[in-house]
Symmetry: C2
Subunit: 166 residues, 2 copies
């Protein structure tokens, strides 16, 4: 199988060409997960105590803040990469709270556009500023150059998820 020697680390059989690289990638994945979970959990806590809201709600609001004209439910679920049914529930609650409105789409009675209300936009503007500061503080072990470099490397991991056709 492997032409390179030095493989007396024979543990759980990664049947890859380069076991050392495979282990390095596995360690990277575990660390990636750990760092992400850590930041996510701090963020969740901050959103909860400061604004009495949640990360999924914040994500929906962020997506709609960027898209001033609003988004259809399917666009929202595609941008956020969560299931359709999931978006339904989160939007339902945000509508009840007066943060979002559903607007029928002309010429297609199946679809709905979702948009931030004025109150929703104002609330989000506040949250976004605090959010950036939190992130800045949570990632303060990484300088700007490293951040840029890591962003590019992560891009290569996430890229596959973007390709539309073939």
């Amino acid at each position: 199988m492997s032409e390179s020697g030095a493989a007396h680390l024979v543990e759980a059989g990664a049947d890859a060409k380069d076991p050392a690289a495979s282990k390095a990638r596995l360690r990277l994945w575990l660390k990636l997960l750990k760092a992400t979970k850590h930041v996510e959990s701090e963020l969740r806590e901050n959103l909860r105590v400061t604004f009495d809201t949640t990360l999924p709600r914040f994500d929906v609001m962020a997506a709609l803040y960027r898209a001033e004209a609003g988004l259809k439910m399917s666009e929202l679920s595609s941008v956020l990469r969560v299931s359709n049914g999931n978006v339904t529930g989160i939007v339902d609650r945000l509508v009840i709270d007066g943060i979002l409105v559903r607007i029928p789409v002309d010429n297609d009675r199946r679809a709905t556009t979702v948009r931030l209300t004025k109150a929703g936009r104002e609330q989000f503007a506040e949250m976004a500023a605090r959010h950036e500061a939190w992130i800045n503080s949570l990632l303060d072990g990484v300088d700007a150059g490293e951040a840029q470099q890591m962003t590019d490397q992560l891009e290569r991991i996430a890229r596959k998820s973007n390709r539309k056709g073939a």
Copy 2:
């Protein structure tokens, strides 16, 4: 601008006066989240179709595979960084499926140790091998050197979650 050398004497704090760095960190965070979610979602799908199981179940089994003597519920929830109540539910289902056993702890009737059954260990050994191969493939855009480097950088982000007394 003030003398920049003083900053690191005070604290390894985020420099609120550097908007460019702040934006770079924000972009890094968004990309981190995206890459992690992408890999997580592929993994979830693979576990579902190949082994009819879930990521949380896999995580519990992985932790217990490493700890041959088993772990107490509280240790499990601490290792996995999820709430106590959460672990209770996942373990309940794994016990029903014969993958885990709960064992009373001597001299402390409050506590329970959880351990993989023989069947559980065998199942996990299979899954671990496939899991490593999946990760290896999902992260194939990153070579071993980069992986090592990124792992170290991520360590700096996750580290704060570990320090007990600053």
